[in-house]
Amino acid sequence: MGSHLSGQKVRASVLNAETMTVCTSGSRPTPASGQVIFETDTQLVAVGNGTTFQYVPTEVAPPVVLSGTAASVNFTSIPACGNLMVVWRARNDSANPAVQLYVQFNSDGGNNYLWEINQANNTTVAATTSGAATTRIQMATMTAATSTANYFAAGSFTIAGASDTSAFKVVQGTAAAFVTATNMYSGTYSGQWLSTAAITSINITPASGNFTAGSRFTLLGWN
């Protein structure tokens, strides 16, 4: 933001470029170069370049940082975003070295998901698919209770066209889980939700047990 003297007159174009404009996606101002807008209906932030507004990945929900155990993490009332991304770090409390992390959309628990993963466990890489439509998408393998203390898994996944109602929704991401100093997983994970509905909620669950304290999940959106 620029520096001005007391009582100084400032041109509107300069002021627009130096202040955040609150508007809706349907009432955006004419974009001034450097002008920042916040859309109240989409929760999105964009910067004007003189011709158009360029959207910036923004947290559209409060980040979830666990101080206790949680059986599921849900992002709800997600506004219409062209793209969504979840960035996460997690550990699980079930008595296993590692367990799967699953994702569902819009509370759909039916056999409406396909997935495929290419996952390395140490030096062995394996490709696995859902085989047929199933009830959820595996988006990661996650460190669990019998792994070394303080070891966590982390990853991210992205949905392009999250609010586009003309196509099924494809989600893809990467993740890594360190179980011990000699046992680790990493891979690419993908899935398709067999629905044209705009994504309004994301449900993240472990295969068994709970996410532990210290796990965190952030939802970003942009157009």
Binding site: P62, A71, A95, V99, T141, S208
Partner: protein, 82 residues
């Protein structure tokens, strides 16, 4: 289960920008324990099968078989992918 220690469902709502914590119901806790028991049993069975294969390979008299097994990841290759 003590309610203070009961796991929760966490919901982060984009419209209200609020986070809510909903404790699991008794039924959900029971279901979670059942899933946990099944997962532990599956893990133990997997480890037992892995050990059985490793012992079979280690006891095989032919070094070629042992080498092929090692290259196939059967002997001392660590856990199989989930």
């Amino acid at each position: 289960m003590d309610d203070d220690r009961r796991p929760v469902h966490v919901t982060a709502d984009c419209a209200t920008q609020q986070i809510t914590f909903t404790p699991l119901t008794d039924e959900e806790v029971d279901r979670q324990r059942e899933t946990e028991r099944a997962a532990v049993a599956e893990e133990r069975a997997r480890i037992a099968e892995e050990q059985r294969l490793e012992e079979l390979v280690a006891a095989h008299p032919d070094p070629l078989v042992r080498e092929l097994a090692r290259r196939a990841g059967i002997a001392a290759a660590g856990p199989v992918p989930l």
